[in-house]
Symmetry: C2
Subunit: 318 residues, 2 copies
């Protein structure tokens, strides 16, 4: 089968064997999405070798339970050992022996097939298109914020970063708060937010904003200065949600966190079920975030496109 | 009156006028305590000029309400404007126009007299000695952690730093958790913790400790490496409490906070009332932390002593 394989140096379209893992379901991938993490892996983050990709929608072709066969599914990307304390509490996202689809010890979704345990799969409701379903993973990561931090209608929220993740965060937060702003560099991207009742702020206008004025700040810019801006804009006792897995060390004025008694909340993955529900109820319109779709035969082009400035989500179809 | 005055360059024992502020009570100071913040101010932190000191016990000599006269008191150090949104919510600790005793815009406690609004004062119960009462400010700062983060009997807690604040944090946390450890460099200081059912760990034995094994880590070391160690020792989804107002920027692997979904909680001041209660009920034995006491006439010697390695609390008596 075809797979976009990273050998530690280069990404290549390869012909590899269909994956097989004991006790796991075989999924024929319909579409996958390129995430910033994929691009970071190519730059050396996570030291992963193998087939990239962790955002997908597919059809179950083989499974231990026959009622899954032929079903359209998405899949939670963390696969815990199933035996440790953390897994038994139902949170395999933090199992220390976990594998992660296309990120850690497990081939990923930019391929014609993948395997995952049945417990990781969720059926996609009929009303959700393939294009929408590919967004379940990043959408659940964005929605997770609302499960970690209390967001009320009057909570003043700032999202830093107008990339895919920043936009998804702003869109999900705007379901809870009436006062969400997004800060970014690209007018075109910010316009997507504006169309969904989110106040957009160009980075060049940042100086005009009153400092220490937001109850919640979400850092989703993926660059070094995002955290500094977040510390400037947040109110005393505010909540700063960190979303960027910016790789490398950040210089941080941590004493400000003490003096202003700020809480910083690290936030990575979320649960898929509520994200699927948002899509089914048409509460979030994710397809506006699609910049282009490529066939897997043009997978390298797809990655080239995804790494260009100003580009949002790039999809790959199998 | 005598006062230890910092002019931006040097600390000196000066003869200054008795303080007077409209609507505030005049307090004759009995004893004051030298805090690490005092030493940091001398190094340029907070750009404060004036009489240092914010830990004290004293007697009210003049007040608008006569039933306070002659009462032994301690005092909350943040004085809010009383008019803004934050003050009206009762939290003048974060009023943006606040003054802070001996730290920001207000002469402090290393002097024969100070003034504070009556609303900042708390009467000291008879069973609490002067030596104990001086500890109310740092003790309330330590106890604040238990109000910010849930500590259960089985919560595994690590306190980094065996200075005064680290020891007070460990001692108050040990009232809630049966599994508190303290990490430090000084066997003598750690022994104080050991005597109060706290597990002590010398820094040189750190490598033997399993990483990612603590539910809650309190960073109270006041030095650059404390935060790094905290990130290594904390469990995924753990709570990292920042107590040190280490001045300057810290290099931090903030992506770890995201991947492990850690929460960082900045923690500065606490409420005085619960700290006074702990002392009254003899639940915390703070006098073990006193290294030496000096008369204000020897105030400069007291500061010299307080800045030496291995020294804990130095008191000044008026």
């Amino acid at each position: 089968m075809k797979a976009l394989h990273f050998d530690g140096r280069n990404l290549a379209l390869c012909d590899v064997e269909k994956p097989e893992r004991e006790g796991e379901a075989l999924v024929r991938v319909l579409k996958s999405g390129i995430c910033k993490t994929d691009l970071e892996i190519i730059r050396g983050y996570a030291k992963f070798r193998g087939t990239l990709g962790h955002e997908f929608v597919g059809i179950v072709e083989r499974a231990e339970s026959s009622d899954w066969i032929g079903k359209r599914v998405v899949g939670e990307i963390n696969v815990g050992c199933g035996r440790c304390h953390v897994c038994k509490q139902g949170d395999s996202r933090h199992c220390s022996d976990r594998t992660v689809l296309g990120i850690l010890g497990r081939d990923g979704a930019h391929a014609e097939y993948l395997t995952l345990p049945l417990r990781n799969l969720l059926k996609v409701p009929d009303g959700v298109s393939d294009e929408e379903a590919v967004f379940v993973e990043p959408l659940s990561a964005a929605y997770a914020i609302t499960e970690q931090v209390e967001i009320l209608p009057e909570t003043k929220v700032l999202v830093i970063g107008d990339g895919k993740l920043g936009l998804l965060c702003a869109m999900t937060l705007a379901l809870k708060s009436k006062d969400v702003s997004i800060l970014g560099k690209h007018k075109q991207k910010l316009d997507i937010a504006e169309s969904q009742n989110i106040n957009s702020i160009l980075l060049e206008s940042l100086a005009k904003l009153p400092k220490k004025s937001f109850d919640v700040v979400v850092e989703a810019s993926g660059n070094k200065t995002g955290f500094e801006i977040a510390l400037e804009m947040i109110k005393p006792r505010g909540k700063l949600v960190l979303k960027s897995t910016f790789h490398g060390s950040t210089k941080a004025e941590m004493w400000k966190v003490v003096v202003e008694e700020i809480s910083i909340v690290g936030s990575r993955c979320g649960r898929f079920a509520p994200a699927l529900e948002l899509l089914e109820r048409k509460q979030i319109h994710v397809t506006k975030l699609i910049s282009e779709e490529f066939s897997i035969n043009e997978g390298l082009k797809a990655f080239e496109k995804a790494s260009q400035k100003g580009v949002l989500k790039v999809l790959i179809s199998m």
